[in-house]
Subunit: 469 residues, 2 copies
């Protein structure tokens, strides 16, 4: 592949086979509870996206080789159109004769064009509205009228919804990423307020007396193969610290709602860890009062291994029991029935993904480390859900989002700047067509963030920064 590779080693539980690490616990497509059809669709999608990105470097190399030939510009555009699906900037091609072809400009352009193509393709490919409605109904049956997920900005979590949790993104209206999953409590209180007002004014999605709650899920991550190096960069690759920090943020949000609003206002919270090597999740089981601990969790990779050979009903029972066992082991009460049902669903969904990684990646990704292609920042850039595609952070200003951006720039500098490539950065801001001037303000915000990036990271900017507003 064209993206950087980390020197491979075989951790415990894996064995070297044909130069690759293969999980000894991995029996692909053998598990009774997986969605094989969806796994095949996802594999095809994953392959398409990676091929698109992987075509960039060889295509540009070939074009570079032609730059001194006659009819270069036409040839270059023809090759780009055929292999990459878009044209290259005329001005860059036309200026090649002056010194040499500006490959860095072409590379940045190509990455962002590919990204835009994928975003359009994604929308066309996954029309998940019917599925999303079913999932929303399921959430409400579990007692949650809104499910809000904040994960780490780490690109290895970019497949969280589509792949790891198998939730249609349209069913999770609030999803924002922050370095270390350290989401913004005040902003979350704002979202809670908006959701509740809608319930009171419009009775959507549930009426105010329905007894349902807003559920906030925080997602941290770790690396089972190389825990000391490939865990969460924002927490020094310390799993317990990453989990505890996310747990503290969840508690702060819950307290903010309970203290800031009267009349029994509260929210539900849930903590999930993702092993970015295998995409297996670890769900921290809340007790009957909603309290969680970093050490009380269901390890879904263990569940997968235990249940792989069973009949479906037996596997379902086993998974169910795992939740009780996690609670009992720590002398804690079992979760509320709605929360418990949700956890069962998430664990079951994730079994498909564990199986997918078994089938497609021999049970462990080859790129267990960072291999993001670009940085995606701003607000609303959900069109492409794919692991390690982009480092993505929710931010409105570099001044406030500096912590998130610093981590991203550091990671991608290691990947690209060292090889002489620029870091493509896409800046997105949503606007509301119903609010006058919203679009203009979003464009102005993108421009402002762009110039703030150029100020804060002058070396990156000089190295060739590309922005898509």
């Amino acid at each position: 592949p064209s993206w950087p590779q980390r020197a491979s080693f075989c951790p415990p539980g894996m064995e070297a086979r044909g130069g690759k690490c293969v999980s000894s616990a991995c029996a692909p497509q053998a598990h009774p509870l997986i969605d094989a059809v969806r796994n095949a669709e996802l594999a095809e999608y994953d392959r398409t996206v990676r091929e698109r990105f992987d075509a960039i470097v060889p295509t540009l190399k070939e074009i570079a080789g032609l730059q001194h030939e006659a009819g270069f510009e036409q040839r270059a555009q023809q090759i780009a159109g055929e292999r990459l699906g878009f044209t290259l900037p005329e001005a860059v091609l036309a200026d090649a004769w002056i010194t040499t072809l500006d490959m860095r400009a072409l590379y940045g352009h190509s990455v962002l064009q590919t990204y835009h193509w994928l975003a359009r393709d994604f929308t066309a490919r996954w029309d998940g509205h019917a599925e999303a409605q079913a999932v929303e109904r399921f959430f409400i049956e579990c007692g949650f009228h809104e499910v809000d997920i904040s994960s780490c900005a780490d690109g290895r979590l970019k497949g969280l919804l589509q792949f790891v949790l198998r939730l249609p993104h349209q069913a999770v209206h609030r999803r924002k990423s922050y370095a270390g999953a350290l989401f913004d409590v005040e902003l979350n209180v704002k979202h809670w307020t908006e959701t509740e007002l809608r319930r009171f004014r419009e009775g959507v999605p549930t009426t105010s007396d329905a007894g349902t709650r807003y559920l906030k899920i925080a997602v941290y991550h770790f690396s089972s193969s190389d825990p000391e190096h490939e865990g969460c960069a924002a927490h020094g690759s310390d799993d317990t610290r990453a989990a505890q920090a996310a747990l503290d943020r969840l508690a702060a949000f819950r307290t903010a709602i309970e203290n800031g609003f009267c009349c029994g206002a509260s929210v539900a919270t849930l903590l999930i860890g993702v092993d970015t090597d295998t995409d297996a999740i670890r769900v921290h089981v809340p007790d009957a009062d909603g309290a969680m601990r970093t050490d009380c969790a269901v390890d879904n990779l263990a569940v997968y291994r235990q249940t792989a050979g069973m009949a479906a009903s037996e596997a379902r029972w086993r998974l169910d029991t795992a939740i009780d066992e996690a609670a009992r082991e720590h002398g804690r009460s079992a979760p509320e029935s709605g929360m418990r049902r949700l956890i069962e669903r998430l664990l079951t969904n994730n079994l498909s993904q564990i199986d997918y990684v078994c089938a497609q990646h021999n049970g462990r990704y080859a790129d267990i480390g960072h291999a993001e292609r670009f940085i995606n920042i701003g607000d609303g850039f959900d069109e492409v859900f794919l692991r390690n595609l982009a480092y993505f952070g929710h931010l409105h200003t570099i001044e406030e989002g500096a912590a998130d951006m610093d981590v991203g720039v550091k990671i991608l500098s290691g990947l690209y700047v060292a090889r002489g490539l620029p870091i493509p950065i896409a800046i997105h801001h949503r606007y509301d067509a119903q609010v006058p001037g919203s679009r203009e303000r979003a464009v102005a915000r993108c421009r402002r963030v762009k110039s703030a990036i150029e100020t804060r990271y002058p070396h990156v900017a000089k190295e060739g920064l590309f922005i898509a507003a």
Copy 2:
């Protein structure tokens, strides 16, 4: 006075008397509708605050004259304590012998200490809670469950609530200032949402079926004496442009609510202009549908002049009539009865302030131009309400608030940096003691803004920047 003075001239309607400009239309304390007791209290308060600030320069000059004498540090602290009410930083005094006393550091320290003293004094002096409750009830009777005022960040409007409109600040929960009164529509939608949710959840201040509305008031400003130079800097001192820009922002906010929320959601809006030379207001009268025009307004200085000699009941009738006349003159319908009542109250309140400026300032401020003592930015710094005390802007980041900050730095650079003095800058951010970590995040935000200022305005920072978090 120790603050900079603009070369004076006598505009039309004023006459030179004893080196000062005196308004020929000014008959102080003669108006039948004014609150003479409050005027006396305000005059005393105004005098106290100005004396405090005016004492700084002569006191520091005296201290500077002693720096080579024996026992300097003790003497200096004694003088500062007696005249200024606080001590000076030990380290600055102790280092005087090295080269010379750092007067710029002492000046910045003194301005901010004085400001903090005043903030404490203000809270002790004006316990307006009972008055505020009465005003809130009055607003609700007029049909407004929340009154939200955004004015220009210009320091000449810092007395807007306490002096110009005579509204207790506790009755106006939302008050934020922006250069040119260009308030943040998205943030305002957030405030509207919070207010509405509280009504739905708690029935406070009115229940959701009360039929009351959220009222947003925008306040622009102009200079009757020197309209081309002393109007709003953010709009090139063009009154019509300033009024139109505020009107557009109000319309955008109303549309955002009407389009963004269903079921007949709407807000009321009102546009007010302030003549910063006289503190007289101009109220733009909405028609029955709430629409306003920049040229359809009641000029309260004219009302003052017309009604000064009348009996109270006659003056009241005349003021009332002025509202109808403004509408009729432009062939427009009269405002709704609640809006009309509110306008009557605001005009009447402002008559006291026009009279106050007559009595205390001969009908026109000597400092018609800028004379702010410091810049106050952030969130929540309402403790001191006094004209020309501070340039004040609502901002969370310099990146987003650069437009506001640029205007402030430009104004105060002209006033102070040219004279070799630093620009004192106070950064405030509110926190909610009930939200865990809120205080820490507010402190971090202040520090972040401080360092952003140092980056954006390196010359200002080098010239001696002082921050109070």
